[in-house]
Symmetry: C2
Subunit: 335 residues, 2 copies
């Protein structure tokens, strides 16, 4: 399945997810709150997280050869919204925390409505997500989603600690990533499996798939920050280096560079943001020389391979094909 | 039961709640996150919300004449923590929103650790509260607690709208109060009832009790802001008027004052914060003359009467006595 086939297969699903979301948010009473929520949620996003819940559940259902009642499908879509809500809530709070002005070419919600409205809107989405997860998915789904949220917060704290101690190990990098990105995506696939009454082996396979996809997503993000085409990513290049952020290509380069290059790279890092921006081409060249980009991409490829191997316990079918194509897309994406 | 009897009866309960909370928070991995959470939670508070959950459940159990297994009691205490967590989470986020420097004589957490840590710590408590509610109390408890959280956010938006439109009706005031304070306390008592397998009549009675106690609590707060003794409340007098906040005594005074006084009071309000502070004694006198304080206190008394009437469906026992004393305390409290 190539990328355009994947997109045309997923487009109707995205529409259905958006419909379910509009229907759900129609309950919001305050017009202003609804306005903030709609701005935060209807961004033209690809709805990857809810899609993964839906695909995971269908994969398990197919495997069981069961007939699925239409109301189960309706409930599955509503349950899946939890993951879009949690994602949106964390972006809202992140933008307040980072005092961000713009996200994907639009002004942030905090810039338009101020911090108060945005913190509260995040709290609302958070409550709504947990409510949907617990009432539709039951205690087990709620447990998965609650633990993922706790892991997200813990990893943000870990990240702040790392920044303060200038912690640069690959182990710590992945520790943060597990909580920050992987936990929620793994929760999305696991929740789909649980909702479909999957076996433990199926749950574990889908957990691995989600987790690895999440990790890959972030590594590719790290790579695009150095190597992306701003026309396609919508972001200027070199932000991470300018901010002194220890992302995977840089961490690996510091590990693998010869002592001479390592000293130069460390000196480039120990500088003002302005100087770092000026020296970006030099840093880029040193990371390249130390195979930082290649090694990071290899890591991502290895994670996707592992994700696809996990899916082999399921018989080949359309859902599996879509998930395979999705994993390929996450790895190859350029924006 | 007088106030000191009440306090000595509740003290061991508060200790047990604190123990359950310490035990629960020991799971937090990040030392910094734990530090923020402990600062936010162990404030010497009276734990009224979890106490109400526990008392409500016991009242229903007594009514059923059932023997309660010890693990049910352990679970009840853990379930009750949800309400202390939600309360603490909302205070954390409120202090960020209000850029508050101090709360009850201590620096706020945001002043000590900054907004990022505090927003995230609030999110953590929120997730933990919903997780406990859903896994221990089941879907129905989760629904109650989730709806209360949504109502809290909606009412904050309503309050912002009211401030912008200079909305001063008593109806709007109570609408905000229902969501802001009453919803969570009503959820606390209702959750206790649900956990104890209460009948619908029992649930409704305990919902009314919690809701009315919450409303009373806030009205008394409004009164103390004008009439309290700073030695006992720990707060300076007249904050609300200085901020131009439309609280119940002022709303009623504007309704009941003669046209001449109403114009003066309106003019005092339509002024700078500095001028309002200077004119506080004058405003106080006008509110008093229009019976604003008396009428607000009568409202509170009426709500407590209604709360106690609701409890009469239960046979008289120790729990009911404690709850009655608690309602009396909320009404009579001076700090």
């Amino acid at each position: 399945m190539n990328q355009s086939e994947l997109i045309s297969l997923l487009a109707p699903e995205t529409v259905k997810i958006d419909q379910a979301m509009r229907h759900d948010l129609a309950l919001v009473e305050s017009p202003r709150l609804r306005e903030v929520l709609e701005y935060a949620i209807f961004t033209g996003g690809k709805r990857v997280r809810p899609l993964l819940t839906i695909l995971a559940a269908r994969l398990c259902w197919q495997n069981q050869g069961k007939d699925i009642a239409p109301e189960m499908t309706t409930n599955l879509y509503r349950l899946a919204l939890s993951f879009e809500y949690l994602h949106a809530a964390s972006l809202l709070h992140d933008d307040v925390i980072d005092r961000a002005d713009s996200r994907r070419g639009r002004p942030t919600a905090n810039r338009l409505w101020g911090n108060s409205h945005v913190i509260l809107a995040g709290d609302f989405l958070h409550a709504r997500a947990m409510l949907l997860a617990g009432t539709i998915g039951g205690a087990e789904c709620l447990s998965v989603i609650g633990s993922a949220t706790e892991a997200m917060v813990e990893s943000e704290f870990l990240q702040i600690d790392n920044a303060e101690t200038q912690e640069t190990s690959e182990r710590r990098y992945f520790e943060v990533l597990e909580g920050k990105t992987a936990a929620l995506i793994a929760a999305a696939t696991t929740t789909g499996a649980l909702f479909a009454g999957a076996s433990l082996a199926e749950q574990q396979a889908l957990h691995t798939f989600g987790r690895n996809l999440g990790l890959t997503f972030q590594i590719v993000d790290d790579l695009l920050d150095y190597q992306g085409d701003p026309q396609k990513t919508g972001k200027a290049i070199g932000n991470d280096f300018q901010e002194g952020k220890m992302t995977l290509p840089l961490i690996i380069a510091l590990e693998q560079a010869c002592p001479h290059d390592k000293t130069i790279l460390t000196n480039l890092l120990d500088n003002t943001a302005e100087e770092r921006q000026k020296n970006l081409p030099h840093a880029h060249q040193l990371i390249e020389k130390a195979c930082g980009f290649e090694a990071a991409r290899d890591k991502a490829k290895g994670l996707v391979r592992e994700a696809l191997t996990a899916l082999t316990i399921f018989p080949r079918n359309k859902e599996q094909e879509i998930m395979t194509a999705l994993a390929g897309y996450v790895l190859a994406r350029q924006g």
